[in-house]
């Protein structure tokens, strides 16, 4: 849960952009289908609310690369080197950046080298080749790991390469990201850009905050609703098991409790005895659960990060559930008839 949240935010935060522009009605390039023609947006380079020349056109699209003959998943990020959206040479852990296409004017004939910078965790070597849509790309560098949701690695390449490989060489992009000019809050900048676009209706402008919210909604919270439901079921099941265990152990103790009462134990004494055992049991259980969850988090097939506050709540809930079980068991114990001491055997 928390791991997905972290991964959902990793890339957008890394870019340093605080203005995210997508096609009108797409609801952000992370969510809907967004295609923009950057030629239509030259004003972005000089728009007052934006830092001059900060606007960076971006291809951001899911792809299914073939790596060593195996189909994998990745997100292709096409950007212009030196602009927002991908690593600079200094941010690579190995190798070099792709060769940038040397063009000022956009032209379909201007086809750059097919080079790609991969995620350092992808276990690929410099010089190796991967296939995307039957086109093979050469790995030239490795970037610091920046996995997207569900451990999806990012493949960085030149904007033109991405267009050629994924968009049939059309000159569209999926979004344009930018930074605000001095004196503009992201909210104000977004508002003014939208106002300017009001009559053309070509773009949606969002702040980083909104974009992160969109991503988390779509990639984490929506799909997690089912998981949330399962979680609640799990808690109920766990609570039920604890309840059953305490119930059964108390039943097993009927004779013992009866004898204790016969020799003078008060209801309070018996209830305290049972509570002590239940609390001990739940403390041990909760500690085991916590340790196991950390161990399993490391071994989990997707990146899982355990949130301390979430674990705290979980611990609290389990404790409350256990105590409720203990309370029921205690009541059961109080109801035991001391006469059993004369009849049964321990």
């Amino acid at each position: 849960m928390n791991g997905m949240r972290i991964q959902a935010q990793q890339y957008p935060k890394f870019t340093g952009a605080n203005i995210w522009i997508s096609a009108e009605g797409s609801g952000s390039a992370f969510i809907g289908f967004s295609l923009l023609v950057p030629e239509h947006l030259p004003y972005l380079d000089h728009a007052l609310p934006l830092k001059p020349k900060s606007a960076s056109p971006l291809v951001f699209a899911q792809a299914r690369p073939v790596i060593r003959g195996k189909l994998g998943k990745a997100i292709v990020v096409g950007y212009k080197s030196g602009k927002l959206g991908g690593p600079t040479q200094f941010e690579l852990t190995e190798g070099r950046l792709f060769t940038a296409s040397e063009y000022e004017e956009w032209a379909e004939a201007d086809i750059p080298l097919r080079e790609v910078v991969v995620d350092e965790k992808m276990d690929l070597e410099i010089g190796e080749r991967i296939l995307i849509g039957n086109k093979d790309l050469k790995v030239v560098g490795k970037a610091k790991s920046l996995m997207f949701v569900l451990d999806t690695p990012l493949l960085f390449m030149d904007l033109r390469t991405a267009q050629e490989v994924l968009l049939k060489n059309s000159l569209h992009v999926n979004m344009v990201i930018a930074q605000t000019a001095k004196g503009f809050t992201p909210e104000r900048a977004a508002k003014e850009l939208e106002a300017f676009d009001a009559e053309f209706k070509t773009i949606d402008v969002r702040t980083l905050e909104q974009t992160l919210g969109d991503i988390i909604d779509t990639y984490v919270d929506e799909p997690m609703k089912a998981v949330q439901f399962l979680r609640v079921m799990l808690w109920l099941a766990a609570g039920l098991i604890v309840g059953m265990i305490t119930y059964v152990t108390t039943l097993e103790k009927t004779q013992e409790i009866g004898v204790l009462k016969a020799i003078g134990a008060s209801n309070f004494y018996v209830a305290a005895l049972i509570s002590k055992q239940v609390i001990l049991m739940s403390v041990i259980g909760v500690i085991c659960g916590l340790i196991l969850s950390y161990i399993f988090a490391v071994a989990a097939p997707i990146f899982v990060s355990i949130h301390p506050i979430e674990s705290g709540i979980v611990v609290l809930i389990s404790f409350v559930v256990c105590c409720a079980g203990g309370y029921l068991a205690g009541r059961k114990a109080i109801a035991v008839d001391p006469m059993v001491a004369f009849r049964g055997e321990m």
């Binding site: 009462k261 016969a262 020799i263 134990a265 008060s266 321990m346």
Partner: protein
């Protein structure tokens, strides 16, 4: 009234209608200090029910009980505290707590009465020595013979200086030799420590030591 325990018009019935059983039927009885009283009678005649009433484990359907001269007010009396302070029990099936050692089993009764741990430990060791188990303090019930278990039971019953000990067929699950040994312990407690004991048993050998043998039939006392 010098009696340790007294019952007047004690009646206890179980169930209703056709299933109604009168287990104890208008019994008057008084047990004096340092007395050894033996209860005898066929199975089902109401012996266990009677000593449960006198031992304040059961509430009578009719009649009253006095412990140490004080009449029990069943609505308001804290019976568990009364049992803890004034009454000791020994059960036919021992009923020692299986995961506790002999000394811990005796200490439980003292813990219930609120005695400090170190004092309880000291006194429990003394009591177990008194019943001849000084070599068995740290054995668990499973490691003890039936006779030894019943000795631990007596030590537990003696834990809080009770006014009286009720023992319900303590020898029924022992072989005859262990039964004899246990009866020797009962005699010893009676003669050397002047403990008041009410015992349900078929042990004829104890008859000559008993101050009174109470014969029961169908919930009533038929001869004293």
């Amino acid at each position: 009234m010098g009696s340790v325990v007294e019952g007047k018009g004690l009646t206890k019935h179980f169930g209703e209608g056709d299933a109604r059983v009168v287990a104890v039927d208008h019994v008057d009885i008084a047990i004096e200090e340092s007395e050894l009283v033996m209860f005898m009678g066929d199975s089902g005649c109401g012996k266990t029910t009677l000593i449960s009433l006198l031992g304040c484990i059961l509430t009578p359907s009719e009649g009253d009980v006095w412990i140490d001269g004080e009449q029990i007010d069943y609505a308001n009396h804290d019976l568990s505290q009364l049992r803890s302070e004034k009454i000791g029990f020994v059960f036919q099936l021992f009923n020692l707590i299986p995961y506790l050692t002999a000394i811990e089993n005796v200490m439980v009764a003292m813990d219930i009465a609120g005695l400090r741990h170190d004092e309880a430990e000291k006194r429990a060791a003394e009591l177990l020595t008194q019943v001849g188990l000084d070599q068995r303090l740290h054995h668990r019930p499973a490691q003890l013979s039936g006779g030894e278990k019943q000795r631990v039971s007596f030590a537990r019953a003696l834990a809080n200086h009770p006014k009286i000990i009720f023992a319900d067929e303590p020898t029924a699950n022992l072989d005859s030799r262990q039964g004899m040994n246990l009866m020797n312990l009962v005699r010893e407690l009676r003669h050397e420590h002047r403990t008041t004991i009410a015992i349900v048993t078929h042990h004829e050998g104890l008859k000559k030591d008993a101050d009174r043998v109470i014969q029961m039939k169908d919930g009533q006392i038929v001869s004293v």
